[in-house]
C-alpha cells in the first residue's frame, strides 16, 4: 500500500498545534517539551511504546487533563480546555480503545445519548445519523441494537458519535487493536473517506505497518517527549521502531523446533456452556507436546477466554476430557491443576493475576499457596517467599524499589514481567499464556518472549492465546484458529500469512490448509 499524498494546504493554520506541553505527575511518565503540529485534512500518527506518554498527551488534547506548561492551539487559535466538553465544542472528538457503548440500546440511542440537544432524539437525529453513515460509507442501521454488532461496526458507531457532535479533529486511540486484518482495511477506507472530506485524524498506534500505511505524517514519542516527526515515504518500519525505542527492535522468532513426542496436554471433545446452557466452546480437540507452543488465534469473544479458563480449571467442562501429563484432570480444581505444574498468565493481569494492594512477595505466593518456597506445610514461609521474589525481580528485570512495594505501584510491563517470572517458577510443565505481552512496552515484550522461548527449549508446553498475529506467528510451532467456539483451522506459522489467518478468524475461508 502506498502512502496517500499529503493533503491540506501548506499555508493553512495547523488544525492542532501543541507547543512545549509538559505534564508531571508522580509515578507516571509525564510529558515534557512536546511539540506537535497537525495539519488540517491529514492523518497524523502518534507512535511510541507503552508509557511513552501518548495517552497523557491525548488526554490533554481532549481536555481530560490540563497541561502544566505549554499551549494548545486549534486552527490557529490558542485554547484552554477545562473539560472534554470544551474540547468537543472546539470540534475535537475521541474514539477510545475500549468502546463506550450501551449494548442494550440501538445505534441511534447510543449516538444521541448525551447529545440530545443537537438534533433531538427522533426523526431529525435519525436523518443526521443516516446522512453521516452514508457520507462516509459506514452502512449503519440506526435501529439495530449495538449488542448484535460486530467489533468493526461498533467502532464505526463510535466514530459516528464524534462526527454527530461536530468533530473536525478525530483522535483514534489504538483503533486497530481489536480488529482483524480485513476490518483494519475497512477502517482505513473509512478514514480516507473522512480525510477527503476535510477531517483531521490523529491516529495513535504502535503497529508500525499500519501507521506507515495510513498516516501522512508520523510523530514519534519517547519517554514523554517528541523525538521526531517524519513522513512515511522517508522511513521504514524498522527505522520508526528504532526511533521509538532508541534501540534495536526485538522480533519474535522461535528458531529451531524443540517439539518432542511427549504429550503434555490433551483436550478431547471439550464443551463449555454459559449460564443459559449455550455452548461457548464445543467439540474442541487439541494436543500440546513438551517443547511445543500451540498458538490460538481468533477474534476476541470466539471462545479463547473460555478455552483458557477451562484448561486452568476456572470453568467446568460440560463434556469432554482434559488430560494433563497422563492424568485426567477434567474434574479437578484450579489448585490441583496448578500443583501438577500448570502456570497461568491471565488475559487481565490486574483482575486475575495480582493482588494489587499486596506486596510483591505476597504476590509471589499467589497461585503457589501449596508449594515451596512460599509455604512450608500449612504455614507461610515468608523468608522463602521474599528470597524467591528477589530472585524473580533479578532474573526477570522487574523494575521495583524492593519486594515490599505493592504490585499496584509498578508499571504494566513490570507487573507482567513479575507475573511471567512467578508462573515460570516451580518447574511448570504447561504454561497457559493469554495475551502475555498485551499492553507492555517493547523492552518487556522482548524479555517475555525470550522467557517463553527459553522455557520451551527446556521442554515446557505452551498454550498461547494472543491477538497479536506477529507474536503468534513468531512464537508458535502450530497455530489453531478458534471461531464461534470451535477450533476451525490448523496452520503452520512458517508458511501462513496474516491475511490467511484473518480469513480463518472471520470465517471467510472455510478451507483448512495443512
Amino acid at each position: 500500500m502506498s502512502p496517500d499524498a499529503v493533503a491540506g494546504g501548506g499555508n493553512a493554520a495547523p488544525a492542532v498545534r501543541l507547543t512545549g506541553i509538559a505534564k508531571r505527575f508522580p509515578g507516571v511518565v509525564a510529558n515534557s517539551d512536546v511539540d506537535v503540529e497537525i495539519r488540517p485534512g491529514t492523518v497524523h500518527a502518534l507512535v511510541g511504546e507503552n508509557g511513552a506518554g501518548k495517552s497523557t498527551l491525548m488526554k490533554i488534547l481532549y481536555g481530560v487533563q490540563k497541561p502544566d506548561e505549554g499551549t494548545i492551539s486549534i486552527a490557529g487559535e490558542e485554547v484552554a480546555f477545562a473539560s472534554p466538553a470544551d474540547a468537543i465544542a472546539r470540534g475535537i472528538g475521541m474514539v477510545f480503545q475500549h468502546f463506550q457503548l450501551a449494548d442494550n440500546l440501538s445505534v441511534l440511542e447510543n449516538v444521541v445519548l448525551g447529545a440530545e440537544r443537537l438534533h433531538g432524539i427522533g426523526a431529525r437525529a435519525r436523518t443526521e445519523i443516516e446522512r453521516i453513515s452514508a457520507a462516509y460509507g459506514f452502512a449503519l442501521d440506526p435501529d439495530e441494537l449495538v449488542e448484535t454488532l460486530g467489533v468493526g461496526q461498533r467502532q464505526r458507531v463510535e466514530i459516528v458519535k464524534v462526527l454527530y457532535r461536530g468533530a473536525r479533529v478525530i483522535i483514534l486511540d489504538e483503533p486497530t487493536a481489536v480488529l482483524v486484518p480485513q476490518e483494519v482495511d475497512a477502517l482505513f477506507a473509512n478514514l480516507r473517506e473522512l480525510k477527503s472530506e476535510g477531517h483531521t485524524l490523529v491516529f495513535i498506534s504502535h503497529k508500525l505497518d499500519e501507521v506507515l500505511a495510513i498516516a501522512d505524517e508520523i510523530t514519534v514519542l519517547r519517554r514523554g517527549t517528541t523525538v521526531a516527526t517524519v513522513t512515511p515515504d522517508t522511513v521504514t518500519a524498522h527505522e520508526l521502531a528504532e526511533l521509538m525505542v532508541g534501540a534495536e527492535l526485538p522480533t519474535p522468532s522461535s528458531g529451531e523446533s524443540t517439539v518432542t513426542d511427549r504429550t503434555v496436554l490433551e483436550v478431547r471433545g471439550l464443551r463449555v456452556d454459559d449460564a443459559a446452557g449455550r455452548a461457548l466452546l464445543d467439540d474442541v480437540d487439541l494436543v500440546i507436546r513438551a517443547g511445543e507452543v500451540l498458538g490460538v488465534a481468533g477474534v476476541e469473544g470466539n471462545g479463547q477466554t473460555e478455552l483458557v479458563e477451562a484448561v486452568v480449571g476456572m470453568r467446568s467442562a460440560v463434556a469432554g476430557t482434559i488430560v494433563l501429563a497422563g492424568t485426567d484432570v477434567t474434574r479437578r480444581g484450579t489448585r490441583e491443576r496448578r500443583e501438577s505444574g500448570v502456570g497461568y498468565i491471565p488475559e487481565d493481569r490486574q483482575r486475575h493475576g495480582l493482588l494489587l494492594d499486596a506486596a510483591l512477595w505476597e504476590n509471589r505466593i499467589l497461585g503457589h499457596q501449596t508449594r515451596p518456597p512460599s509455604v512450608r506445610g500449612l504455614w507461610l514461609d515468608r523468608g522463602g517467599a521474599r528470597a524467591d521474589t528477589e530472585r524473580i525481580v533479578d532474573a526477570y528485570d522487574v523494575r521495583t524499589p524492593g519486594v515490599d512495594t505493592t504490585a499496584r505501584a509498578l508499571s504494566g510491563g513490570n507487573q507482567q514481567k513479575f507475573l511471567v517470572g512467578r508462573e515460570m517458577s516451580g518447574d511448570p510443565v504447561l504454561l497457559v499464556a493469554s495475551h502475555p505481552t498485551r499492553g507492555v512496552d517493547v523492552g518487556a515484550q522482548a524479555a517475555i518472549w525470550e522467557s517463553i522461548r527459553a522455557a520451551r527449549r527446556r521442554g515446557l508446553a505452551v498454550l498461547l492465546v494472543s491477538a497479536d498475529l506477529d507474536e503468534l506467528i513468531g512464537l508458535s510451532d502450530t497455530i489453531r484458529v478458534v471461531l464461534r467456539g470451535r477450533l476451525a483451522g490448523t496452520f503452520d506459522p512458517r508458511t501462513v500469512t496474516p491475511l490467511e489467518l484473518g480469513s480463518a478468524m472471520t470465517g471467510a475461508d472455510a478451507s483448512e490448509p495443512a
Binding site: P26, G313, R335, R337, A358, E362, T400
Partner: protein, 364 residues
C-alpha cells in the same frame, strides 16, 4: 516509605477522624442546648479505679466482637449477624453449663466449645444460603439476628426457671466459675478471668491471618476474588469456613460475663455488643492491634459517658453519636490515606526508574 513515616501516615487517619468526631459531637451538643465544655470535662476526666476494671471488661468483650466481624471483613464478607450468633451461643453455653454434665473446669472448657459451635452453626446457616442459593450474607445475617433474639426468648421460657417476672437458665455450679483477677490494687471489683480469651483469640487471629496458608487464601480472596479463583482458591469453601470461624469467635463474646459475672443466661444479657463490634472492626481496620485500640476507645467512651446524665445533665446517648461519627470519618480518612500511600509509592518507583535510567545514560 520508611517505617516511621509509614506508621505516622497510618496514625494520621484515626487522629483526623477523632478531630472530626469531636467537632461534630460539639456541634450536636450546642444545637441541642447542652454544654460541650461539661461534656468534654466529664469525658476526659480521669477514670476511677472501679472504672478501669469496667473499661477492661468492656474492652475484652468488644475486642472479641470486633474480631468476629473482622474475620469476615478481611474476606469482604459482611457478617452483620455477630449479635445473633453471640446470643444463640451464649444461651446454648449457659444451658449446657447449667446442666453440670462435667465437673469443674472441664465443664467450663466444654461450654466454651459448645458456645463456639453454636455461634458457628448459626453463622453456618448464612454461609449455606450464600453458597447454595446465592443469598447475600448481609441480608441473611441481619434477618438471623431477629430470629435469634426471638428463638432464644422462646427457648428460655421452655428451659429456663421463672425468677420474678423473667426467666433465666440454671445457675452454673460454682466449681465451674472462672475467678476474676484484680487490675487495680485495693479495688474490690475485678476483671473477668475469661477476658483473657480476648488475648488468646487476638493472637490466634494474627497468626492465622498472617502466617498460615488459610489466612493467605482468606486475605487474597478479600483483596481480589477473581485473582484468588485464578490462583486456585475454592471461594465457596472459603466462604463457609470464614463464616463458621466468624460465628465461632462470636460465640466467645458472652463467655467472660457468663463465667465471671452472671453465671446464667437471663434478661440481664448485654445487648448490642455484636453491632458495636462491627464499628470496632471498622475503626481498627480489621487489624489485630487496631481492633484492640478501637475496643479500648469504645470501652472507655461507654464507661466515661455513664455519669454524663448525673453530673452534666446530658443524655448518655450522645456518646453513640460520637462513636458513629468516629467510624464514618475514619472510613473516609483511611481511604484518603490509602490514596496518598499509593501515590507516594508510585512516585518512589518512578524515582527509582529515573535513577536507573540516569545510570544507564552515564555508562552506555
Amino acid at each position: 516509605m520508611t517505617t516511621v513515616r509509614r506508621l505516622m501516615v497510618g496514625a494520621a487517619a484515626p487522629a483526623l477522624a477523632f478531630v472530626v468526631a469531636a467537632a461534630v459531637t460539639s456541634v450536636v451538643l450546642v444545637a441541642a442546648g447542652d454544654s460541650p465544655a461539661d461534656f468534654w470535662r466529664v469525658l476526659l476526666s480521669a477514670p476511677d479505679p472501679r472504672d478501669y476494671v469496667a473499661i477492661a471488661n468492656a474492652t475484652a468483650v468488644l475486642y472479641l466482637s470486633g474480631l468476629a466481624a473482622a474475620i469476615g471483613f478481611r474476606m469482604n464478607l459482611f457478617n452483620i449477624g455477630v449479635e445473633g450468633q453471640y446470643r444463640v451461643a451464649t444461651f446454648a453455653g449457659a444451658v449446657f453449663a447449667g446442666q453440670a454434665l462435667l465437673p469443674g473446669a472441664l465443664n467450663t472448657a466444654a461450654t466454651i466449645l459448645v458456645a463456639m459451635a453454636a455461634g458457628a452453626a448459626w453463622a453456618g446457616i448464612a454461609a449455606l444460603l450464600r453458597v447454595l442459593r446465592g443469598v447475600s450474607e448481609v441480608i441473611s445475617t441481619i434477618m438471623l439476628n431477629a430470629i435469634a433474639v426471638s428463638l432464644v426468648a422462646f427457648l428460655l421460657q421452655k428451659v429456663g426457671r421463672r425468677q420474678g417476672e423473667t426467666f433465666r437458665t440454671d445457675t452454673i455450679p460454682e466449681s465451674s466459675w472462672v475467678p476474676s483477677f484484680p487490675l487495680v490494687p485495693g479495688e474490690s471489683s475485678q476483671v473477668y478471668g475469661l477476658a483473657l480469651l480476648a488475648v488468646v483469640a487476638g493472637v490466634g487471629f494474627a497468626v492465622l491471618l498472617n502466617r498460615t496458608r488459610f489466612g493467605f487464601d482468606l486475605r487474597a480472596t478479600g483483596h481480589s476474588e477473581s485473582a484468588a479463583v485464578a490462583s486456585g482458591v475454592n471461594v465457596r469453601r472459603m466462604v463457609v469456613y470464614t463464616l463458621l470461624l466468624s460465628g465461632a469467635v462470636a460465640g466467645l463474646i458472652g463467655m467472660p460475663e457468663l463465667f465471671g459475672g452472671s453465671h446464667a443466661y437471663g434478661s440481664t444479657i448485654q445487648t448490642g455488643i455484636g453491632f458495636t463490634g462491627i464499628a470496632v472492626a471498622l475503626l481498627g481496620r480489621n487489624h489485630p492491634w487496631g481492633i484492640a485500640v478501637a475496643a479500648l476507645i469504645f470501652g472507655y467512651l461507654n464507661q466515661q459517658a455513664s455519669p454524663l446524665g448525673v453530673t452534666a445533665d446530658i443524655s448518655t446517648e450522645i456518646i453513640a453519636v460520637t462513636q458513629g461519627v468516629v467510624v464514618l470519618s475514619v472510613v473516609i480518612a483511611y481511604e484518603v490515606v490509602r490514596r496518598y500511600r499509593v501515590r507516594a509509592e508510585q512516585a518512589e518507583v518512578a524515582r527509582q526508574l529515573r535513577r536507573e535510567r540516569g545510570a544507564q545514560a552515564v555508562s552506555p
